[in-house]
């Protein structure tokens, strides 16, 4: 397969690049080689839009090194008969772990505690102020897919009550209370975790009404996509005290983050590290390689989306 052109327009992971290089003809820019490119390995952040796909007439398969599909022009791919794969499941646990880290860091103010010690304030000012207990709180999950369920399972171990809103009621999760709207979910939980996929319907699903419903003692955790949250509204809700706090792994326009958030004490801000572990990146890379091999050997794809 060494002659098959595989385009990787953005760097991914050295392990993946190394293997792609040894097994295929890895190209990092498409300009002169458009007719030999039969596969593209893209990440979920940059995706593959119509222009990208149109520029590659021989493209047969797009392998997403990631899970999000919101930046892939799936309709175009379907029209052209281009297969699409992603890397689900391998990032489920990691992302759920980060959601839990955001909750505990936010409620127990771990980042501020750490700064308190590093700055010498523990010596100068004595005990750190009291923080908020996590165990026993009510966790509301928006989107009870793989990641949502993984968050629920972890939160239950902290004696939390679980409630959720999803497109459909999940009968297999009978012990979790379903709310038919996001506002009702927000009104009835202490911690709202966004774990759904980004679609036209879920764009800005966390709006002013939801934030007001969550309230001055409620906190928002986002491990979905930045565009799930109306970020400008979020900033004003936090500054005005209408929302108690926010733990964010994703933002509207990464890596740009609303500057006003930097001055706030009741936020935790992470640079989209939901799947950023050595183990997961390796597993994601292995899935990409497995899907590529399967396609070019005319075998069933491992994790097809299309």
């Amino acid at each position: 397969m060494e002659s098959i052109g595989v385009l990787m327009p953005y760097p991914t992971f050295p392990y993946l690049e190394h293997h792609l290089q040894s097994r295929f003809n890895l190209l990092r820019a498409s300009t002169n080689y458009t007719t030999s490119i039969r596969a593209a390995v893209v990440n979920a952040v940059h995706g593959a839009d119509a222009n990208f796909i149109d520029a590659l007439p021989m493209l047969e398969i797009v392998c997403i090194y990631g899970i999000g599909l919101d930046k892939i022009d799936l309709r175009k791919c379907a029209e052209r008969g281009i297969r699409v794969t992603n890397t689900p499941d391998v990032i489920t646990d990691e992302t759920a772990d980060v959601a839990m880290a955001l909750i505990i860091s936010l409620l127990r103010r771990l980042c501020q505690c750490d700064l308190y010690v590093r700055s010498g304030n523990w010596k100068r000012q004595g005990s750190f102020p009291l923080t908020t207990k996590f165990s026993g709180k009510t966790v509301g999950i928006l989107g009870l897919g793989r990641i949502g369920k993984a968050v629920a399972k972890r939160a239950e171990a902290f004696n939390c009550k679980i409630c959720y809103h999803s497109r459909t009621v999940k009968t297999e999760c009978g012990s979790y209370k379903f709310y038919p709207s996001v506002v009702e979910l927000a009104s009835n939980c202490d911690i709202l975790v966004v774990a759904c996929s980004l679609t036209v319907e879920t764009h800005y699903i966390i709006n002013r009404d939801v934030m007001n419903a969550l309230g001055p003692k409620g906190v928002l955790i986002n491990v979905g996509r930045g565009k799930h949250v109306d970020e400008a509204e979020l900033v004003s809700a936090l500054i005005e005290g209408r929302l108690g706090g926010a733990g964010l792994d994703v933002f509207h326009d990464e890596p740009d983050v609303s500057q006003e958030l930097f001055g706030l004490d009741n936020v935790v801000l992470l640079p989209h590290i939901g799947s950023a572990t050595v183990e997961t990146r390796t597993a994601m890379a292995d899935l990409v390689l497995a899907n590529l091999e399967a396609h070019f050997l005319a075998k069933p794809l491992v994790t097809p989306v299309l």
Binding site: D97, L130, A157, P255, A276, V278
Partner: protein, 332 residues
């Protein structure tokens, strides 16, 4: 007092302050403010300004002491209190109290019992994820990163599914285990004695536990056997991708060796809520990105403080009524 039986105005809780049972408070416990707010109508709290001798009340009249974890209740201090009968500590640990001296004097001890377990377990798990996934380092990175096209932040290590060695499987250790099980972690433990009722594999020494674990979570008490139990050998066994979380006592770890191992990259990282000489923290740690440092606050939430004050008050009331203590510490 018996001569004039006037009707007392109900809004003066301190009217008979002088008659209330005296309670000497040592070590500025975090719950002191709340304790005074809630219970000044039941107890007269005596708080020394500087030394014990600065107290207005005679030391010989003190029978009840509330003591925080930061106050060493040594034999010589106990010697200054000839009438001391009850010590209520606001911590779960008793390593700051001379238990031998108390035993000899017949002094009862009440601890904070298992009231902290949830809070401390929550913090232990938060610290573990933080140090393995570099959460607080990542937050600092976002707040200070310059404008660029993409974020470039180092990868962390997965927590779910890892082998976690818990040192000390008391109520806090069990709560940590219960939480991490739901992260798909394999729980292993070392404790003074094997617990026949738990399903987790037991290791009879910390070295073997460290050799087979991805992370150690220290939840045990500090005493002569456990002092510096996490030494250089244990840290080398844990390895370059191994992590330590300490919510027990600073003295469980050889702190000098910890610093050296961290500086030499012999262990992956450490998350510490406790230190050998609080509030002093080895300066080398203050600039490391693979450590998380918190100011001994794993137990302290607003919810917990109120409960703690209740436990303290109920123990004192039980003592004064000659009833069994609520959270008696068995000192043999």
């Amino acid at each position: 007092m018996e001569e004039e039986k006037e009707v007392e105005p109900p809004q003066q809780p301190n009217h008979h302050n002088q008659d209330l049972p005296q309670v000497l408070v040592l070590g500025s416990p975090t719950c002191l403010q709340t304790l005074k707010q809630l219970y000044s109508h039941k107890f007269r709290f005596l708080i020394p300004n500087t030394s014990l001798h600065s107290l207005s009340a005679p030391l010989s009249s003190i029978s009840v002491v509330i003591c925080s974890a930061s106050f060493p209740l040594t034999a010589s201090v106990i010697g200054l209190l000839p009438s001391l009968r009850l010590v209520v500590t606001t911590s779960a640990g008793t390593d700051h109290i001379d238990l031998n001296e108390c035993r000899c004097r017949g002094i009862q001890i009440a601890g904070a019992g298992k009231f902290f377990s949830d809070e401390v377990a929550d913090m232990a798990v938060g610290l573990l994820i933080d140090v393995m996934r570099k959460v607080s380092a990542a937050d600092r990175f976002v707040r200070t990163s310059c404008e660029s096209a993409t974020w470039s932040f180092p990868l962390g290590y997965k927590v779910s599914g890892k082998r976690i060695g818990i040192v000390g499987l008391g109520s806090i250790g069990m709560e940590v285990a219960k939480r991490l099980e739901c992260f798909g972690c394999n729980i292993l433990y070392h404790s003074k004695h094997k617990k026949s009722t738990v399903p987790y594999p037991f290791y009879n020494n910390v070295l073997d536990l460290a050799a087979t674990s991805n992370a150690l979570v220290l939840c045990c008490a500090l005493n002569e056997e456990t002092r510096h139990m996490v030494n250089r050998e244990v840290m080398l066994a844990l390895g370059k991708e191994g992590f330590i979380v300490n919510v027990g006592r600073g003295g469980l770890i050889d702190e000098k060796q910890l610093v050296k191992c961290l500086m030499d990259g012999e262990i992956g990282g450490a998350a510490l809520d406790v230190f050998e000489d609080e509030p002093n923290v080895p300066k080398e740690l203050l600039s490391m990105d693979n450590v998380v440092l918190t100011p001994h606050c794993a137990a302290f939430t607003t919810e917990c403080i109120i409960k703690l004050c209740e436990v303290v008050a109920r123990n004192i009331e039980a003592f004064l009524s000659d009833m069994p203590l609520i959270t008696q510490v068995n000192i043999g």
